[in-house]
Symmetry: C2
Subunit: 346 residues, 2 copies
DNA sequence: TTGTACGCGTTATCAA
DNA sequence: TTGATAACGCGTACAA
């Protein structure tokens, strides 16, 4: 403080709480160089204990805070991971993000969350944006798939972990075997004596059997197991957008025992609502099965039968794998387990 | 291109798609200065049409993308707004964030979303972090309240709009009149013939009547209207954490007609579950009312009576007001309307 | 132990 | 119409 000029002393008085203070100003106030201030702030060894204490005390007094942009630019790293998901109203995503954020905080990482709304252009744009923010790694629930996009991801020289939707089979990924899970669902329904299974999901018409998107994998699982199981008849698909057709398709009067299998709980809830409104009893008149085990199911009656998987586990694993990659350690993809939750609806 | 050296030509071949290219490199390839490249990229008038075209074509070819950190640091602005909320599993927040993100995208703003988890220290830390990111404005659902925090917010020289919880009465804020809304809820319940109203909410014990937090305002509204209405008896409060006590408190046998009023729908759903499990019929044995009108209510039977308000409107308004502030236009706080949704539970 | 000076990638202000 | 150069705030190798 002895070196402080009048102007600097004044600055100490008035500027605290007003403008953010810079390393250079602290240096001026302490009568040392910016290098020394830096050494004090990052407690490096090469510094005298007294000067260090002086610098730190002034820094505290003036509530110094490093300017993150500047430091990230200089270091080429930002202690930040980018997280890119579709949408937050979807329980899977909000839960996933919560877990990742909590884990990141523990390890002093910041999270930069972006929403693609499932828009492929937007997704690419945000990924490029993330790169230009010097994020240290990216957790991605991809809307794009395929070789070209995979190549684009490679061109971003940042570690990436994909979650849920797979971009390609080579890329690091954390998720579950959606196809197998849906096959298990069909088997489960069968075991309960149903002889017809209708599938309801989004964008049924645009379904691509080669796609690695979870929705397509789920539909694929359903189709496959129906094809293999002759007594179930051929697959019957209803698009989410034509939910009102569900009653026609059911043709309750003459049908064999029927179950509606949904690509997601949220579809199942929508159908449940329609069925209730039409006085159709579940599971007496028709069975209903969901997928995801979203949290609100605990408030729904009848208890919905569904497929559960560890969302928190997926989030934790994705983060852990990302950190490993950032550290330079190689990691592999992992498939987490699923299980059927038997409710009262099948 | 004529000015490109061999090394530079090589660079053009191999480096595209590999590393991000910089303005300086484009300048080198085009044989112009960085200033000129900048003029071309930001199509400023002071540039020759030909050179501009040349620069732009190279930039396109090499997929130039401005480095956001560097540009934000230099400009002192980042075309980014910070959004700080509690938690994303809460429908109010996820919906709010979705709307803000959509609006921001329309106007070419990026969003940097952070989660405070309701932690006051964390909140302050993240706000400081935002400042050090040169965000142009902040939308804040505050966990802190009071004069001191208000002062701290003033010290951040960034436009701020608070949502929901008020920090102080002077600060720009968008929300609803929670207190009045809860008073209306009590009146509504009364009008249905109930003579006892029990209130369920979080942290009842820590309730501070001077606080501007929405939860406290809601509880205040309940207390006030009960005090003023002698035939309802004195207020009875049950903390969320002791939900199991609810049945004892009810004392269904000897009681006057009772309704449970909840600080939020999510509490009401929890109670609904308990009541259902105990075979208590709603609204015959007891009434139940929520607050928030969260989206999942559409799947719940009986239809829950609740208080609704325009979440999207709040988000849009908050964003609009923030942009106005960023432009330097003064804005005032605004209270949006609420209304009671009459279900089948009261 | 400390100070200097350059680099991070862009923007902006001068001269030329 | 251009180019050189100083910011932006911090990190760091190198010299002292």
């Amino acid at each position: 403080l002895v070196h402080a000029t009048l102007a600097q002393a004044l600055l100490l008085e008035t500027r605290s709480y007003v403008l953010s203070i810079k390393i250079k100003e602290i240096a001026g106030l302490c009568g040392v160089s910016v290098g020394t201030v830096d050494r004090a702030l990052h407690n490096r060894p090469e510094i005298n204990a007294e000067t260090k204490e002086k610098v730190l005390s002034i820094a505290r007094k003036l509530k110094y805070r490093p300017h993150h942009l500047a430091s990230s630019l200089a270091k080429g790293s930002s202690m930040t991971i980018g997280v890119l998901v579709y949408d937050l109203r979807n329980y899977f995503f909000s839960q996933l993000v919560e877990v990742i954020e909590a884990k990141a905080m523990e390890q002093n990482y910041y999270v930069n969350l972006m929403l693609s709304h499932g828009d492929r252009k937007q997704e690419i744009d945000y990924l490029d944006h993330m790169r230009s923010l010097n994020v240290d790694g990216i957790i991605l629930v991809a809307a794009n798939t395929g070789a070209e996009f995979d190549k684009h991801l490679n061109s971003i020289k940042t570690p990436i972990v994909t979650v849920g939707n797979r971009v390609s089979k080579r890329r690091v990924w954390v998720g579950l075997n959606d196809r197998k899970a849906m096959r298990d669902a069909v088997l489960f329904i069968c075991s309960k004596g149903y002889r017809r299974i209708i599938y309801v999901g989004p964008q049924i018409a645009a379904y691509d059997p080669k796609s690695l998107l979870t929705t397509d994998q789920r539909l694929l699982g359903y189709r496959e197991s129906l094809m293999e199981n002759s007594k179930l008849g051929s697959p019957r698909l209803v698009d989410r957008s034509e939910m009102d057709r569900i009653l026609d398709v059911l043709c309750l009067s003459d049908s064999p025992r029927t179950c509606i299998l949904c690509s997601a709980d949220i579809e199942a809830l929508e159908i449940l609502k329609v069925l209730k409104e039409n006085g159709i009893d579940i599971p007496r008149h028709v069975g209903l099965m969901g997928f995801d085990n979203i949290d609100v199911l605990r408030y729904i009656t009848p208890r919905l039968t569904t497929v559960a998987y560890p969302i928190s586990g997926i989030g934790e694993t994705a983060f852990k794998y990302l950190i490993e990659q950032i550290k330079g350690n190689p990691v592999q993809s992992i498939t987490l387990g699923h299980r059927i939750i038997e409710g009262e609806s099948v």
